[in-house]
Symmetry: C2
Subunit: 477 residues, 2 copies
Amino acid sequence: MSERGDSAEPLIHGEEFDTSPTGQAETGLDEDDRLKPAFLNAVLDAVEDGDSERARDLVSPLHPADIADLLELAPAERRGAVAAALGDLVGAEVLSELNDYVREDLIGDLAPEQVAEFAAELDTDDAVAMIEDMEEADQQAVLDALDPEDRAAIQSALSYPEESAGRLMQRDLVAVPEHMTVGQVIDYLRDNDDLTRDFWEIFVVDAAHKPIGTCQLSWVLTCPRGIAMADLMRREQTLIPVDMDQEEVALRFQKYALISAAVVDAGGRLVGMITVDDVVHIIAEEAGEDILRLSGAGEGDINQPILMTVRTRLVWLVVNLGTAMIAASVVGLFEKTIEHLALLAALMGIVSGMGGNAGTQTLAVMVRAIATNQVTSSNTWRMIVREFRIAVTNGSVLGVLIGIGSYLIYGQPGLSLVFATAILLNNMVAGLAGVLIPVTLDRSNIDPAVSSAVFVTMMTDSLGFLTFLGLATIFLT
Amino acid sequence: MSERGDSAEPLIHGEEFDTSPTGQAETGLDEDDRLKPAFLNAVLDAVEDGDSERARDLVSPLHPADIADLLELAPAERRGAVAAALGDLVGAEVLSELNDYVREDLIGDLAPEQVAEFAAELDTDDAVAMIEDMEEADQQAVLDALDPEDRAAIQSALSYPEESAGRLMQRDLVAVPEHMTVGQVIDYLRDNDDLTRDFWEIFVVDAAHKPIGTCQLSWVLTCPRGIAMADLMRREQTLIPVDMDQEEVALRFQKYALISAAVVDAGGRLVGMITVDDVVHIIAEEAGEDILRLSGAGEGDINQPILMTVRTRLVWLVVNLGTAMIAASVVGLFEKTIEHLALLAALMGIVSGMGGNAGTQTLAVMVRAIATNQVTSSNTWRMIVREFRIAVTNGSVLGVLIGIGSYLIYGQPGLSLVFATAILLNNMVAGLAGVLIPVTLDRSNIDPAVSSAVFVTMMTDSLGFLTFLGLATIFLT
C-alpha cells in the first residue's frame, strides 16, 4: 500500500517548474506528458547494447501509464526486446494500460501461466480487459492457470456481454448493513485484511443485499463513532444495471459527476462497483470517436494492424463511390449544357462544395448533441427551425457574395443570378438534411455518426448539381 | 450531509428494472437518462396553469443535473416562468450544471444579492464558473454581496487565467504534516467542523506547505490508529501547476486515472485541489470538440444565440469558398478539354470526392492521435509510412474498380486508364496531405483540428482536378 520512491521529492510532470530537481529531466516527459524522443532513443540504445540495467534505470521512475506509452512508441519489431530487457517493470499495470493491439502482440509470446500471474495481480475489470480479446483456447489456458477464486471472478465477468457494466465492474467492494455505526464500520475495515484497499464509497445494503444508500469515505472520517450508517448515508443513489452498455455507464458517470457507483443485477442486488477511473477513458473514447465514425475511419487506432485499417476504410470509400456516381450521373444529364458553356463545369463544384461544408457543420453539431443525449422530441423541432434559419442566413450571405463576385469576374448577370440562387438553395438543402438525416437515423436506432455523412453528401452533391445546372439549362441556354 | 428521500427505495434510472416501484415512471427519465417529453410537457402545463405546487411535486425527485436539463429543454421564452415556479428547486447546484448560455439568460434577471447567495453555496470552482462570464459590473456587484471569505476565494480564483487549473480548483482541502498518525488525522477531521466534507484524498505537506505525499481515504480507514501518515502515503504524486491549461489537466487526470490531485503554485506550495468530477465534463468536451472544429462548427453549442453561431460558421464557409475558387480555377484551365469531352465534367467530381473522403479519414485519425498526445517525433515517420501504404492500397483497389467499371460503361480504354490513374494519384495526395498538414500545423502550435481540413480539401480538390483533366488533355484530346 505504501509505495516509497527513492527520493522524498514529489515527481512534478511538465516543464513549468524548473525549481524541482526531480522534474522533467529525470522523468523524460515533455510538457504534454509525452515521452521525449531523446529519452525513448536512450532506452532503445541501451536495449540494443544489451545493457538491460541502464534501460531499467532510465525507465524505473516512470508511471506505468508512461511505460505503456514507451512500448507503444517503440518500433513494433523492437517491442519484444524492450519488454524483455525491462523485465518486471512491465508488470500487470503496464499491460492493462497498453493499447489492445500492442498488448495482444506482446502477450502472444508469453506462456499462459505468466499471463495468469499478471491477471491475478489486477482488479477484475483490468484482468478481464487483458484477456477478453484472446483466442478462446489461449483464454482457457490462462483461466486454468488462475487460482479458483480469481478464475471464478473473471469467468463471471466474462459471462456478461462485451462492453457492458458487468465487464467494467470490480467485485471487491465494501458493503455494510445500515444499523452499523461509524465506529463499527471502521473497526470492520481495520480487522479485515482481505478487503480491497482501493475504494471511495461504502455501500449500505439491506438483508437481501440490495443497496439502500451510499456513503462517502470523507463522511465516515469526519463523523463521531456513534453515528449509524443509516443516518449518514445518502439514500438517493445512481445505480448501474449490470447489463448496461458501457457508453451509457460513462454518460451516467459524467452527467451525475459520480466517483463510484453500485452495480446491481436484475433482482436489484449489489453485485459489483464501478469507479470513475475505470470509465474516464471510455468517456474520452466515446466522445472522440464520433469524428472517426463521421469520416469513416473506423476505430482510428494508430496501432491497428494495417490490413484491418485498410479494410475498414475501403468499405467506407466504396460506399461513398456509390454516392459520387449518383452525383456524376446528375451532371451527366447536363452534358449538352456543359458543352455549350464549359465554365459551368468549373463553377458547379463551388455549389456542391459549399453545400457540403454547410451540411457537415450542421451534421457535426447534431451528431454531438445526439451523442450527449441533448436531443429529445421536446427540442427536435426547435433544432430544425434553428438550423434552417442559420442555413437561410448563411446561404443568403454567400449567395450575394458569390453573385457579386462572379458578376465582377464574368460580367454575365444571368449566370451570377443562377449561381447565387443555387448556392442559397443548396445551403437550405444542407441545413435540412444535416438535421433530419441524423435525427431520423437515431430514431431508427442507427448510429447517426456512422451513416449520416453519406446521405448528407449525396443530397448536397446531387441537388447542388441539379439546381445549378438545371437553372443554367433553363435560363442560360 | 445526510439527505434523506421520502422513500427508502433507491432511485433506479432506466427501464431495465421494472421491479423498482420508484424507477422510471416517477423520475420521468428515459433509458438514456433524458427527460421524457411527456414529463416535460406535464411540468410546462403545470407552470402555464399557474399550479406551481404541481410543477414542484413533479420536479422535486429529480437530480440537479436533470433539473438543469429540464430548463434547457424548455422553450427559451418559458424558462424564466419555469424557474420562477420551481423556486428553490432551482438552486446553486442546478445553476452550476446549466449550459452557460441558458444560465446567463436566467441569471440576467436575478439581483446580484441572489446570485451571491447561490455562489456562496457552491464550491469555489463552481461559483467561479457561474460568475466568470458575467459583465464586469455585474460580477463586481455579486462579489460585493458576498461575505469577505467567499469573496477572497473567488477573487483569487479569478486572478488565474481563464481555463486554467487555478479556476478549476477548490481551496477547501485536507492537508496534514507527515508526522501525524492515522488516529490523530481522524481526530482532527472529527473535531474540525469547518473542514470540507467532500474530499477523496488527504495531502501530506512539509513545513513549507509543499505536498510530499498523497493518501487515499480508504488507506486511512483500513489502517490502525498508530501508523504515521509518512508510512501510509504514496510519495509519487501527480501535481498540477496552478497555471496549467484545463485541457492538459483533463488529459493528465485521464492518463494517470486520478481521483483528485494537488494544485501547486510556482514555488511548489499546495494551493488547491482538483477532483475528477470537476474535470470529467472537460475530458468529454475536449474529446468531442475536434469533430466540431474539423467541420468549422465552432463550439457546436445548441443553446448558443443564433447570431453567434451564424458568424462562426460563416467565417469558415467563406474561407472554404476561397479554396473552392482555387479548385474551380484549376478546372477553368481545362475548359477546352471539357468542351471537347463533357463527360469529363461528370467524372472529375468522383476523382476529387474520393480523394477528399480518403483525406478526411487520415485527417480524423491524425487529429485524434495528436489531441490525445500519441504523436511525437518518435513515431511521426512511422505514421507517414503507414498512411501512405494505406493510401496506395486503397487507391489501387479503387482505381482498378473504377477503371473496370468505367470501361464497362463507356467502352473507352484510354478514358478508363486516365480515370484509374487519377484516382490512385489523388489517394496518394490525400494520404500524404492528411498526415503532413496536421503534423506541420501542430508543430507550429496551430490547432490541427481547426485548420487542417481547409488545406487537405484544397489539395485533394485541386490536385484531383489537375491530374484527371491534365492526363485527359494529354492522352485523350
